[in-house]
C-alpha cells in the first residue's frame, strides 16, 4: 500500500474485501455492495451496473478504452525516474520505485499515447494512481510536457485523465517545479489554439489539481470523483470542523463553477469527440 492510499483509502475494495471470494472472479462494489462478475464489469468499463459507481481504473486500461484500436504510439516510454536526492524515509525512494514498477508494470505514474479518437488524431495522457498515488515527479512532468509538445507540433488536441495525490515528496523541489513545467507546456498549446480537455477522475488533488488538471479549455469530471487542492483530512485539521457531505466531489465542483460538466465513463469517448469536432467546426463524428 502506498503512503497515499493509506492517507486516502481507495474506494475500490482491493485485497481485504475480495479475499473472501476467489481472486478476480467476483468484485464487490464499494458503494452498493453488489457482487459483480468481473467480465461483465470490465465490459461496463468498471462502472457498477447497479449503482453507476465509477471505480478507479489503471492508466493503460483507461487509454485503451478511450482511443480507437488502430495506430497507437507511446510518447516518452524510454524515460525512467532517478533519485537525485538519494531520498530516504522509512524506506529508500529507490526501493519504493522498483516496488511500484514491479507491481504496476509501469516505469512511472503517467502514460502518454498518441492515437485516434473516433477517427480524429489526438494525444492522451493518463495517470496511474497505483504508482505511488499517481504522484508527479520528473518523469510524469517530462512525459506530460512531451505529450503537449507532440500535440503542438502535430496540431492535434490533448486530453488528460488525472488521478493523483499531487506532488512526489521524494523528488522534493524537482517535483514542485513540475507544476510550473506542465502549466508552461499548456501555455504554449493555448497560444497555438490547440484544444486541451482535462478529465478529472477519482482522486485528483494537490499539485496535479493545482496545475495541469484545472487548466483544461474544458474541464470534465467523472461522477463522484474527489477533486480538490488540499486533502479533506488536512482541511479538517485546519478548520477543526466536520466537512459537509459531498464536499470536494465532482458535483460540488460543478455547483461551484470549477468544472464544465460531469460525464459518465461510458459516454466519455462520444462526448469528448463531439466537443473536439465542435472546436474544429466539424459535424458530430459517427460513433
Amino acid at each position: 500500500m502506498s503512503w497515499f492510499e493509506k492517507l486516502m483509502p481507495s474506494r475500490i475494495s482491493t485485497e481485504k474485501r475480495t479475499r473472501s471470494v476467489p481472486q478476480g472472479v467476483w468484485i464487490k462494489c464499494a458503494k452498493c455492495d453488489a457482487q459483480l462478475y468481473r467480465t461483465e464489469l470490465e465490459r461496463n468499463l468498471y462502472v457498477c451496473p447497479k449503482c453507476d459507481h465509477h471505480m478507479r481504473i489503471g492508466a493503460r486500461e483507461r487509454i485503451e478504452v478511450f482511443l480507437d484500436d488502430e495506430s497507437q504510439e507511446e510518447i516518452g516510454a524510454n524515460l525512467e525516474p532517478l533519485d537525485p536526492l538519494k531520498f530516504r524515509d522509512s524506506k529508500r525512494y529507490r526501493d519504493r520505485l522498483s516496488q511500484a514498477q514491479k507491481s504496476t508494470g509501469e516505469k512511472d505514474a503517467l502514460v502518454a499515447i498518441a492515437g485516434k479518437l473516433l477517427g480524429r488524431p489526438v494525444v492522451v495522457c493518463a495517470f496511474e494512481f497505483k504508482f505511488m498515488g499517481g504522484s508527479m515527479g520528473s518523469v510524469v512532468g517530462e512525459r506530460f510536457a512531451r505529450a503537449a509538445r507532440h500535440s503542438a507540433e502535430h496540431e492535434i488536441p490533448l486530453i488528460s485523465f488525472s488521478a493523483s495525490g499531487g506532488a512526489r515528496m521524494q523528488e522534493a523541489l524537482f517535483s514542485l517545479l513540475q507544476m510550473a513545467k506542465t502549466s508552461a507546456a499548456l501555455a504554449v498549446l493555448g497560444e497555438k489554439r490547440i484544444p486541451f480537455v482535462s478529465v478529472l477522475t477519482d482522486p485528483t488533488t494537490g499539485g496535479v489539481s493545482a496545475s495541469l488538471a484545472m487548466l483544461g479549455d474544458v474541464n470534465v469530471a467523472e461522477p463522484r470523483a474527489l477533486i480538490g487542492f488540499a486533502g479533506p483530512r488536512v482541511i479538517e485539521q485546519t478548520v477543526r470542523q466536520k466537512l459537509p457531505e459531498g464536499f470536494q466531489r465532482s458535483e460540488f465542483l460543478l455547483a461551484h463553477g470549477a468544472v464544465d460538466m460531469i460525464v459518465d465513463r461510458r459516454e466519455m469517448r462520444e462526448q469528448i469527440a463531439d466537443l473536439l469536432a465542435k472546436f474544429a467546426h466539424q459535424p458530430r463524428p459517427a460513433a
Binding site: S90, S138, A185, F229
Partner: protein
C-alpha cells in the same frame, strides 16, 4: 532590542544578556567597562559566526520562519519608499496575505507582488499567517496583467507556509487560482524576478514564483511540502521534521547545488532580522542587476529562455 533568540542561539543570547548587564554597571566601576563590552561584543560576533556556519536544514527553516524576520512590506519600505499598494481581485475580495503595487527603485517603476505575514497576533490573523486564498492569487494575476500592459517589470517576494487549506478556499477554486497563475506567468511578456525571502511553501509559493530569475536569501527555504507535513506522511510523525528537512534539501545552498536557483543572497551576520536595512540593500542591488540582465534580452528572447528554463526542470533517465 529583544531579538527573540532561537534555541540553538542560546549561547549568543546569554552573551548578549551579559553585555546588556555590563552597560548598566556604569562608569564608577573599577574595571574599564568599554573595553570589556568591546571584548564581549567581539566574542558574540565570532560565536554567532561559528554557530551560523554550520546550521542544519531544520535550524535554517526556523530562521526562515523567525518572528522577527523582515517581510515583504518591510523590504519595500526601504527599497521602494514611494510604493503604492493596489488592492483587490475585482471579483470577490482583497486578500491581505498577498500584497501588490507599484514602486520605484532608482527611478524605475516596478510591479511588486509578495506574500505578507503579520508581526503581532492581530496582524497575523488578519494576514492569515501569509497563507493566500484564491482571491489573493487572482489579485496577483490582475496586477501581473496590469504590469504587462504598461511594460512594468515584475518582482515577487515569496514568503508563505503555503496556500490556505480551507473550506471557502476550496469552494472558490484554490486549485484553479494557483494553476492559472502558473499558466499566466509562463507567457507573461514582461520580465519577472522572484526572491524567496523566507518560507517558500509549496504550490502557494510557486504560484507567484514562475520567473526569469529565482533568487534566494541565504537562510530562506523552498520546498514541495513543509518539513512537518512531509514527516507526518512519510515518517508517520511530525516529530521527524528535522529529518524531513534534511532529506528534502530545502535550503538555498542545497537548491543552488542542484542549479534550481540563480543566486543566493548572503544575509548579515546572525540573519536578515539582525540588520534589515543591510539586507534590503543587498536585495535591491540584486533586483537591479538581474532585471538589467533580463531586460537586455528583449521580450522574444526572454520568453524563449523562460520557456526553455521551465521545460528543463526535472531529473530523469532516458534510455
Amino acid at each position: 532590542m529583544d531579538l527573540k533568540f532561537l534555541e540553538f542561539e542560546q549561547p549568543i543570547a546569554e552573551l548578549e544578556a551579559k553585555i546588556d548587564e555590563l552597560r548598566f554597571v556604569g562608569d564608577d566601576s573599577e574595571i574599564n567597562i568599554n573595553e570589556e563590552v568591546a571584548r564581549l561584543k567581539e566574542k558574540s560576533r565570532s560565536l554567532t559566526k561559528t554557530i551560523f556556519d554550520k546550521l542544519s536544514a531544520w535550524q535554517i527553516a526556523q530562521i526562515a520562519r523567525h518572528p522577527m524576520r523582515p517581510y515583504t512590506l518591510d523590504y519595500l519600505e526601504v527599497i521602494a519608499p514611494d510604493f503604492q499598494e493596489l488592492h483587490g481581485d475585482r471579483m470577490y475580495a482583497d486578500d491581505p496575505a498577498i500584497v501588490g503595487g507599484i514602486g520605484r527603485i532608482d527611478g524605475r517603476a516596478i510591479m511588486f507582488i509578495g506574500h505578507q505575514k503579520g508581526r503581532d497576533t492581530k496582524e497575523r490573523v488578519r494576514r492569515n499567517y501569509g497563507m493566500p486564498k484564491p482571491e489573493g492569487y487572482r489579485k496577483a494575476q490582475r496586477l501581473m496583467r496590469l504590469a504587462e500592459k504598461f511594460s512594468l517589470p515584475i518582482v515577487t517576494f515569496i514568503d508563505t507556509p503555503g496556500a490556505y487549506p480551507g473550506v471557502g478556499a476550496e469552494e472558490r477554486g484554490q486549485s484553479e487560482a494557483i494553476a492559472f497563475s502558473l499558466y499566466l506567468m509562463a507567457g507573461l511578456k514582461t520580465p519577472i524576478v522572484s526572491v524567496v525571502i523566507g518560507e517558500g511553501g509549496s504550490g502557494g509559493a510557486l504560484a507567484i514564483g514562475v520567473s526569469d530569475r529565482l533568487l534566494m536569501l541565504q537562510y530562506a527555504i523552498y520546498s514541495v511540502i513543509s518539513p512537518e507535513g512531509c514527516a507526518s506522511i512519510l515518517w508517520k510523525s511530525a516529530e521527524k521534521a528535522e529529518e524531513a528537512a534534511e532529506a528534502m534539501r530545502i535550503t538555498a545552498a542545497n537548491l543552488s547545488e542542484f542549479g534550481l536557483t540563480d543566486e543566493v543572497l548572503p544575509e548579515p551576520l546572525g540573519a536578515a532580522h539582525r540588520d534589515p536595512s543591510a539586507m534590503a540593500e543587498i536585495i535591491r542591488n540584486a533586483i537591479l542587476k538581474h532585471l538589467d540582465d533580463v531586460e537586455a534580452l528583449g521580450i522574444d528572447e526572454m520568453l524563449a529562455q523562460r520557456q526553455a528554463r521551465l521545460a528543463s526542470f526535472g531529473q530523469y533517465k532516458e534510455n
